[in-house]
């Protein structure tokens, strides 16, 4: 077998030092950082299989892990974070520029200027602007850096989603989470390095392509933990069998595989495969435990809005994310079902509803991370794939929503070395286009990698003799200004 293509979690020397090898040793300490030692990021020995062992970063990291609160559908920047008095004054008037540059549908659907839908106020010592539909998040303003000048390359959900997650407009490329897992490995070998928490109501638009490893080895792919029941596909037997029979079967398998391997010396992949059965067994134990929010105090649960509606569902996922990060998971993404922010119709009501679901849990997460001393090492990212237009959009017979806007949107970050309480970048007077310190998706990715101790140029994967990077051939800008 071609060793170049051998990917596995472990390698032979590791296996030979694991005392009882197989199914024992749940939550074993064996796999901690010390045991493996570090390796320079990407400087894998040529024959070493791809794995999730912790790797040394390119430079000292500010953040050890990332929680991405992905706001699918495209939240409206001028209604939530980036107030526009001029726009408010022009409410109901025609758009003064060329309507060809607005939205993603035919120009005949472009309506008139639509003022902000909510009341804004300044918050915290820093005085960040936030709308009144985000009362809890507003309380955390001094931890938050608003990036108001994000822009992207495509006004369609599909392509903008590929772009924001993988830096490309097309499917098949590794996402930020996959690159992170590839570059840094994981601190916990009993859990995947990259975990995705989906909405029980359903998957987001683009589904699993939001957390694909693309052409990277599959070990770096995001693992979607199911929100209800057992967290990973096939984690528990989907048939009935007495525990004793399962135990007997495992014993038999262990013996048979040992015989098989003894007769075939010098094939490390056989050891790796046996270990993958061990890891599977350990995952069965630790995955369930890591998501069990009932182990938290009532006070903590209340902080996230667990046990009350409409925050229960999102709150649970935010708390699960904290538990995962605490256990060394490198990258956690939380999604909402389909694309609730995509408000072509009834924007005021629809946005308010999503805020009600998410605002308290998000603020609870920041507060909880902070009080546990985890916020310093955890980068929290809030944002979607694009923003919305200053004009209303005709949908059916009504003009009550906004269309997609790739030219400006707001993303915020907190923790993990970010300077809190600042707003970065400016948009024009309508919030239509980023005009001051524009931040491309590549800039955004380069900054996140930088905080994780990775350099976007040094982080590459060779495919068909080509060096592939998250940030392509561009020379993106690390936003040094927003780093504390």
């Amino acid at each position: 077998m071609n060793p170049r293509k051998q990917f596995s979690f472990s390698r032979r020397d590791f296996f030979s030092r694991t005392r009882d090898g197989l199914l024992g040793g749940a939550l074993t300490q064996l796999l901690c950082n010390d045991f493996f030692g570090g390796t320079e990021a990407l400087a894998q020995a040529p024959q070493e299989p791809y794995n999730l062992k912790p790797k040394r970063s390119h430079h000292p990291a500010r953040a050890k892990s990332v929680i991405q609160l992905f706001m699918n559908g495209g939240p409206s920047q001028m209604d939530l974070f980036d107030p526009k008095p001029v726009l408010n004054r022009m409410d109901g008037k025609p758009y003064p520029g060329s309507v060809e540059g607005i939205g993603n549908t035919s120009t005949t659907h472009v309506g008139v200027m639509m003022g902000g839908q909510y009341r804004f106020a300044k918050h915290g010592q820093s005085g960040l602007w936030m709308a009144d539909v985000l009362p809890h998040t507003a309380h955390m303003s001094d931890e938050i850096c608003l990036i108001n000048s994000m822009w992207t390359d495509h006004p369609n959900h599909d392509n903008a989603l590929y772009k924001i997650h993988s830096g490309r407009l097309f499917m098949g490329y590794p996402t930020l989470g996959a690159w992170t897992a590839y570059g840094l490995g994981s601190e916990n070998q009993n859990l995947p390095a990259y975990v995705v928490l989906n909405d029980p109501l359903g998957p987001p638009k683009n589904g699993a392509r939001n957390w694909t490893a693309g052409f990277l080895p599959p070990v770096y792919q995001g693992t979607s933990f199911r929100p209800t029941g057992s967290p990973i596909l096939n984690l528990k037997a989907e048939y009935n069998q007495p525990a004793a029979a399962t135990k007997s079967a495992q014993d038999l398998l262990k013996q048979l595989d040992k015989i098989h391997r003894t007769h075939r010396p010098h094939y490390p992949e056989l050891a790796a495969r046996i270990e993958s059965y061990g890891l599977a067994a350990r995952m069965q134990l630790s995955a369930g435990e890591s998501l069990d929010v009932s182990r938290e105090t009532a006070a903590t649960r209340a902080l996230y809005g667990i046990g009350e509606e409409p925050t229960n569902s999102y709150g649970r996922r935010c708390l699960m994310a904290r538990r995962l990060v605490e256990r060394g998971v490198r990258f956690v993404q939380i999604f909402l079902e389909e694309q609730p922010w995509d408000s072509h119709v009834d924007l005021a009501d629809n946005h308010r509803a999503v805020c009600r679901r998410t605002d308290k849990p998000v603020a609870g997460l920041l507060r909880d991370l902070k009080q546990r001393g985890l916020l310093d090492s955890t980068l929290v990212i809030w944002g979607g794939e694009f923003g919305r237009t200053p004009t209303s959009q005709k949908s059916g017979d009504v003009y009550t929503g906004r269309d997609h806007n790739m030219q400006a949107f707001t993303t915020w970050m907190a923790g993990g070395g970010i300077r809190g309480g600042m707003a970065y970048g400016q948009t024009d007077e309508f919030g239509h286009q980023a005009v001051g310190d524009p931040v491309s998706v590549h800039d955004f990715h380069a900054t996140v990698l930088h905080l994780l101790g990775l350099h976007h140029q040094k982080l590459f994967f060779t495919r068909s003799s080509l060096e592939e990077r998250l940030t392509e051939f561009d020379h993106p800008r690390v936003l040094k200004e927003i780093i504390a």
Binding site: K5, S8, F170, G207, Q241, S248, D342
Partner: protein
């Protein structure tokens, strides 16, 4: 090169500039805008093609205007001449663009055009002001003058030299032995008979032997039993299902378009899949196989024949090879020139990585960093495809299939389909209603106090796209979704009954769909005989045109002094450029340095787990050196001498001592040849996803033997598990016949490294991740198949003797008898399992069979 001598090649494309100037201009074109020289029509045409010809070009001439040539511009349309030389302000072309009448605001998205930039407008104005000067034929093509961009030195790389070998007096084993001896090694002993049987079966047909065949080969006292077994397997129709799959990976086969999340299904992609399987089964000579796939539409003028034959249909289906990549240009918003260029570049990448062993795509944006492939050569190759893949004359999704079928096929479609379609339509309606009944029952059960009006409003809301729902509608839908995912046993009787109606209808629909005669549509690529000019795109950007180039092949693979000769294939018939035909002929010349080498190396790779050149897709300077260069050349020449027969190649390889070695690794091997580059032993191999799934189905007696036709549908449950429905016989077809929609890859296949096609897969990963054991241990379907397997074993051993059971399980699953230890372990495990299962021996055997399917001995091939 002997293609120069071919008498039927008549049209020669000769460059007008001498090569010194050509070289200089190409270099200039790559680095800087072209304005250093005098402005001419080639500064303007790329702009007009990009911005204007969607409405005034090949497909439409609105207002009677065709802007594709300067002549057309001067001739103008109903409103008069589009340009007046020397007077830009008086020229309609400039006026219309300036006042934004053109392109019309309302049509930008319909025709996928964008307004010219001010720089572009400036260029147009400048050209008209200069009197709209034209220079004759500047297309850069290979000439008889030496090529200055690619030097003789560049051609010295081993893979750019034609293969050379003396066939007589050499064998595969001779070449291997020679290197082994130099390194103080020798061949490993021959593997034992049962190992050879299992190895050969899984290798050639991807299935283990049946018990009858196992017994036959095991007991044979014929000294030629082994080579007879190889012949027997090569004659099996399962051979094409196994080896065709490798080619489908190379082509990037997919049953959907990809690119957008709707991921539309490609209804007839399967015809190409069947073509590939058939071609392998028929041992179609590889040169012919390539010819059909690259230029099948230029072989016979199917539009001008009295009767369409099966062979003609096959030729057209074959061209699907170049249309397998991601193609989002059918989308409402993703059909701009850059996206079209992406489709073209993917096709070139498939050709380059799969057939030519070159990373051609590196030269799309700039001259290749490592290989002597100037950017010019990428665009010359693009020009070869321009007649069929024209970003300025792009066919819409609806017009991008050919409807060609034999009279028999048409007759069948006409007689069989209408009544079935009528029934299907009615069933679809019933299914819609039944699904709504399920929803209403769910709402009634879980929200008894909800009004019937709200329930009806929920159904209405579901008919709207989720992003155009009002808040009230969203909340109604959410309420429904919340109860839809609850476990089935918590649902009321009426919900369960309604769901049963739905699944019965689904089954009925699937059965009827299988009875439909395949439609006459073919997903083909065909030349339309009117290529737009091809310009180099600086930095690969669609709006940075450089120099005009003509069709050609990478110079480094030629002597650099030979024009690329193209002739129209049907001078009296359908207009076609013949460019791809010329390419295919050039590729299959016996002197071609790469075609045969790349193919034999791929075949070698599949037999031995690694190629003689390990970088299958890259024979260039940065590719790996061949471990046995002389053997590689010998195989390539032998292959061509044997009429490009892949089956003969298999025979050479599999009958060799090299292939028949044991896979046992000794300490000496590890020391001298740790990577097995010298082939001192056979490596063990893990079954790929197809072999694994098909073997489990075969062993459990659940494999449906139906071949070909539309792919089997898959289902996605709310947890994201993608599973495959059984046929009406309660069985499953081979994995190659499943539907591979890019966004719905069956979970089992995905778990065992079924690749993401991007655009193709030149070599699969072999990963070892815990999701694999989880799938094998816990998945309900794997368990059911284990139970079927156990029932089969139980039936065949009426004695109920545990020893007999173990014996039979091993022969089925591992094609051998258990060792004494394994047998003893099996017997005691069965005894213990029987206790664990409260004395249920049937269940005990199920667990045992399931365990064997989980064992390394099953997963790996010695």
């Amino acid at each position: 090169m002997n293609w120069r001598k071919k008498k039927h090649l008549i049209i020669r494309l000769l460059a007008c500039l001498n090569s010194l100037a050509a070289g200089f201009l190409v270099q200039a074109a790559e680095d800087a805008p072209v304005h250093k020289k005098k402005i001419n029509q080639h500064d303007v045409l790329p702009i007009v093609l990009l911005r204007c010809t969607a409405c005034h070009g090949a497909q439409e001439q609105m207002g009677g205007l065709d802007l594709r040539t300067p002549k057309g511009m001067q001739k103008g349309g109903k409103s008069g001449a589009a340009l007046i030389a020397g007077k830009p302000e008086a020229s309609l072309l400039i006026q219309r663009i300036e006042n934004q009448a053109c392109p019309p605001s309302g049509l930008l998205l319909k025709y996928f055009v964008q307004r010219p930039s001010s720089t572009e407008l400036g260029t147009l104005r400048k050209w008209i002001a200069a009197g709209a000067p034209e220079e004759p034929g500047l297309a850069d093509v290979a000439t008889t003058q030496p090529d200055l961009l690619v030097a003789g030195e560049d051609r010295k790389h081993w893979a750019f030299q034609p293969p050379k070998a003396v066939l007589e007096g050499h064998t595969i084993d001779g070449f291997i032995a020679e290197k082994l001896e130099v390194n103080g090694l020798s061949f490993s002993p021959e593997a034992n008979r049962s190992t050879l049987i299992r190895r050969a079966y899984l290798d050639l047909i991807g299935l283990p032997p049946s018990l009858t065949e196992l017994n036959m080969w095991s007991a044979s006292d014929d000294s030629q039993w082994y080579s007879k077994m190889i012949d027997h397997l090569l004659a099996s129709p399962h051979y094409g299902e196994r080896w065709g799959r490798y080619w489908l990976d190379l082509a990037g086969y997919a049953d959907s378009e990809g690119g957008v999340s709707a991921d539309p299904v490609r209804q007839v992609a399967w015809k190409y899949r069947d073509y590939v399987i058939e071609s392998f089964n028929k041992d179609k000579p590889y040169d012919r196989f390539l010819l059909e796939q690259i230029a099948g539409d230029e072989l016979i003028d199917h539009a001008n024949v009295p009767e369409v034959t099966g062979a003609m249909v096959e030729n057209l289906v074959a061209t699907g090879f170049l249309r397998m990549g991601i193609d989002q240009t059918g989308s409402r918003t993703m059909n701009f020139v850059p996206e079209r260029l992406g489709v073209i570049s993917d096709a070139l990448k498939v050709l380059g990585s799969g057939v030519m062993g070159l990373t051609l795509e590196c030269a799309r944006c700039h001259s290749h960093k490592y290989d002597p492939i100037p950017q010019r050569d990428f665009y010359r190759l693009k020009a070869v495809f321009q007649g069929a893949f024209d970003e300025h004359d792009w066919l819409s999704f609806k017009t991008r299939t050919l409807n060609v079928a034999t009279p028999q096929q048409l007759k069948r479609i006409k007689s069989v389909n209408p009544p079935l379609e009528k029934k299907l339509k009615a069933l679809d309606q019933q299914l819609k209603e039944a699904s709504n009944t399920v929803r209403l029952e769910l709402l009634r059960q879980h929200y008894p106090r909800q009004s019937e009006d709200d329930r009806a409003a929920t159904l209405t809301a579901l008919r709207k796209a989720d992003n155009t729902r009002t808040l009230k509608q969203r909340l109604l839908v959410e309420r429904l979704q919340r109860v839809e995912v609850l476990p089935q046993d918590g649902q009321s009787k009426s919900v369960q009954a309604a769901r049963l109606v739905v699944s019965n209808l689904e089954r009925e629909i699937a059965v009827l769909q299988r009875q439909l005669a395949p439609p006459d549509a073919i997903r083909a690529l065909w030349d339309r005989g009117r290529p737009s000019p091809t310009y180099i795109l600086r930095r690969g950007e669609h709006n940075k045109p450089g120099k005009l180039v003509g069709p050609g092949v990478p110079s480094v693979l030629t002597d650099g002094r030979t024009p690329f000769v193209v002739e129209k294939p049907f001078p009296e018939g359908t207009p076609k450029t013949g460019r791809r035909l010329a390419l295919a002929r050039w590729l299959t010349q016996s002197e071609h340095p790469l075609t045969a080498r790349v193919l034999v190396n791929r075949i070698w790779h599949h037999h031995f787990g690694a190629g003689l050149v390990r970088s299958l897709e890259n024979f260039g300077v940065k590719g790996e050196q061949p471990s046995h260069p002389k053997l590689l050349d010998w195989l390539a020449i032998r292959f061509m001498q044997d009429g490009w027969s892949i089956k003969t190649l298999h025979r050479h390889i599999m009958n060799s001592r090299t292939y028949r070695q044991s896979s046992h690794v000794r300490d000496l091997h590890l020391k001298t040849d740790p990577q097995n580059r010298l082939l001192s032993h056979m490596p063990i191999k893990r079954m790929d996803a197809e072999a694994l799934r098909d073997s489990i189905l075969f062993i459990s007696g659940s494999l449906e033997n139906q071949r070909g036709g539309p792919p089997d549908a898959v289902r996605v449950n709310r947890q994201g598990l993608v599973s495959v429905g059984s046929t009406e016989n309660g069985r499953w077809r081979r994995s190659i016949y499943l539907r591979y929609r890019r966004t719905e890859i069956p979970s089992f296949m995905d778990t065992f490294d079924y690749p993401v096609m991007g655009p193709n897969c030149v070599e699969r990963n072999v990963s070892t991740v815990p999701t694999q054991p989880l799938m094998m241990m816990n998945n309900a379907h794997v368990r059911e198949l284990s139970a079927t397997f156990a029932a089969r074993v139980g039936k065949l051993t009426r004695s109920g003797d545990a020893g007999d059971h173990v014996e039979l399980v091993y022969r089925f699953a591992l094609s051998r008898s258990p060792s004494a230890v394994e047998k003893q372990l099996g017997i005691s495990a069965l005894k213990k399992l029987r206790q664990d299962w409260d004395d249920d021996s049937v269940r005990a055997l199920e667990t045992y069979c399931h365990t064997i399917l989980n064992s390394a001995a099953f997963l790996y091939i010695d």
